[in-house]
């Protein structure tokens, strides 16, 4: 193994690790705010990447039907609860959010696809299609059960994951897709031939992580999210609406997932079910960080990326086993270190 190979592998590991780090942060955010282990996180990657690839080949991605149907379902649930509570004044807002907005996005996509817009415009449209799926998913699947136990929420997550993956197969087909790179540039960095796309990935991850930090430290919504994560009941007592926080965390998670998908779709072939395994590696990263600390989770995810890259050089057939085995010693250490606490308090 020459230093050159080490440099190559490190570059590859950091590129993948940056994506895993983003996903680890999203998973951690959702978990601390809503106690949901967010299995469908990976689906946003696949939906965004495959939608982009389909739009580039001039086809209307099926994502818009999911958006429209999901929005209608969420609207129906919201209207039902508004009618029950005799709060008809909420109706215009509900319809605007869950019906008019998705319809406007769908219309824009229909209009844009045959016109073959510039790549940045297509990326924006994909974000507009995929990101609202997060809050809609929370409203439809999780909000009615928001106070259930972690295990129930986890099982809901599995169900949502299977539904999303099935729809993905229907709308995107079984074969893989790949989208155009943002730029074909290559940079000579010592012995390395760094592609512009991998710089994009790392830079975008850093920007997003900085933006998240800014959100949590400086904005009122970010602080409310942190408060909910620290103590849900206490946050509610001081007037932070739990449902809004849940939707907000899902919105962020969907955004992060969609951005990750858009970033990696030019450097690999993505399938309708690839998102799950990528999300799972982000999850391993989050576990390495003990499911509590953001910097540790990001570090853990980077470790996963590097380990994966070096494992694929030394023992490619056992790569996944090596990556996932990493969880065991960490879990053992965590369980030895922390005293056993009962499943969270009943509210």
């Amino acid at each position: 193994m020459t230093p050159e190979i080490v440099a190559w592998l490190a570059q590859d590991g950091i590129t993948n690790g940056a994506i895993y780090a983003l996903l680890a942060l999203a998973l951690l955010l959702v978990f601390t705010v809503t106690r949901v282990i967010f299995v469908p996180q990976g689906e946003f990657i696949a939906y965004a990447a495959l939608s982009l690839a389909l739009m580039e080949s001039g086809r209307v991605p099926g994502t818009i039907y999911i958006l429209l149907a999901g929005g209608a379902l969420a609207a129906a649930m919201e209207v039902a609860s508004a009618v029950r509570q005799h709060a008809l004044a909420r109706l215009p807002r509900i319809l605007a959010l869950y019906v008019v907005l998705p319809a406007a996005v769908a219309g824009a996509v229909w209009w844009a696809v045959p016109r073959n817009l510039a790549q940045w415009a297509q990326v924006l449209l994909v974000l507009a299609m995929v990101v609202p799926l997060g809050p809609i998913m929370y409203r439809v699947a999780y909000q009615p059960l928001a106070s259930a136990s972690v295990l129930v929420l986890f099982i809901v997550s599995m169900a949502v994951h299977y539904v999303m993956m099935g729809l993905s197969l229907v709308f995107f087909g079984g074969e893989g897709l790949r989208s155009r790179p943002f730029s074909d540039g290559q940079f000579q960095l010592g012995v390395l031939n760094v592609s512009a796309q991998s710089l994009w990935v790392v830079a975008a991850s850093l920007v997003l992580i900085a933006a998240l930090w800014f959100l949590f430290e400086r904005s009122i919504y970010g602080k409310a999210l942190r408060a909910t994560a620290v103590n849900r009941v206490g946050a509610r007592l001081v007037g932070i609406p739990a449902n809004l926080m849940g939707q907000l965390s899902f919105l962020l998670a969907a955004f992060i997932g969609a951005v990750s998908g858009i970033l990696i779709s030019p450097i690999t072939t993505l399938y309708y079910d690839t998102g799950f395994i990528i999300g799972l590696k982000g999850f391993v990263g989050a576990i390495l960080g003990g499911m509590v600390s953001y910097p540790l989770a990001a570090l853990g995810a980077l470790t996963v990326g590097l380990l994966e890259s070096f494992a694929s050089f030394w023992a490619s057939a056992y790569k996944e086993s090596i990556v996932f085995t990493l969880i065991i010693p960490v879990l053992v250490w965590l369980s030895l270190r922390s005293r056993h606490v009962e499943e969270e308090e009943q509210e």
Partner: protein, 378 residues
Amino acid sequence: MNRTLLAALAAATALGAAAAHAEITIGVTLGATGPGASLGIHYKNAFQLMPKTLGGEPVKYIVLEDGSDATNAGKNARKLITEDKVDAIMGSNGVPSSLQIAQVAFETKTPYVCLTPIALPPEKYHWTFVVPQPTELMMGAVAEHMKANGVKTVGFIGFSDGWGDLMYKATTHHAAAYGYKVVTDERYARADTSVTGQVLKILAAKPDAVVVGGSGTGGALPHVALVERGYKGRIYHNHGTVNAEFIRVGGKAVEGAVAPTGPLIVPEELPASYPTKAVSSEFTKRYEDTFGAGKRNAFGGYSYDGVLILNAAVPAALKKAKPGTPEFRAALRDALEGVKNVVGSHGVYNMTPTNHNGQDERARVLVRVENGVWRLLK
């Protein structure tokens, strides 16, 4: 009164017809969802194009979904045999699933037309007939081509699953006879986002050529990575990779890729004297008319050929017993073992008691990616 009489007459005629034409039932289990979906969809599509009679008798196909899961495939097979009393079973689109079905077929004494290339111990072959070309036959064409081009060392990278194992075995099988050495055995998963590590290892071994043991669009990832890292040797694929989506995903990087495949991928370019030209052309045309231009693939052809083989065997079995009985199933198995010169879309099948595939060199051609399409390599 009149109407009742008519209805009774009609019913009686129908009954009579049913008695004269005992319907043949074929049970099929395939995975058009799950990890094998990209193949399973094509296998399943082909059942819309199947003949309505087998050996002159009406036939009913019962197609079940197994989600590319071996346990489900086994369960489906058992259900089809015990509840639907099928006369023969077909499926599935994955080596583990097909092994399960073969086991069930062996236990229940049901003829099994297998749609994936599998390797079984000889006694288990008794009830199993394999449609696709053996991987050794296919990779033999690659080995020949490598020898003709002076290839001495070969790097291998394949899926970390049963398919990758089969391809590695087939590639090393020919090594001694064709004078090359396999210098790497790298593995990757279809869902991997990067194969940099494996590719670096292959480059360090400096092989004259690389064989990719992937399938479908999954074959594109290592090919693109090798080209990006400046690999100049020829890159070979296998018959699982040959479809239009592979080129769409791989783009310019996969230009020049060489792979073996069945003749139905390039029927237009075959010489008029090619034995399968008529059947291959007709099936490919019907498939693309129904499912869209450019959708041709090897997998639909396996389903189709499986039914053609059954079609050739049914008349002999009908002479001995009636469909739906164990005697008929045994007779059908014996008849399958004796079918001769069945021209399918993939090749010509001549079964013998020791060869339950029966294909020869006519079942393979080499194709190459030229200007974004698979063309016959002459």
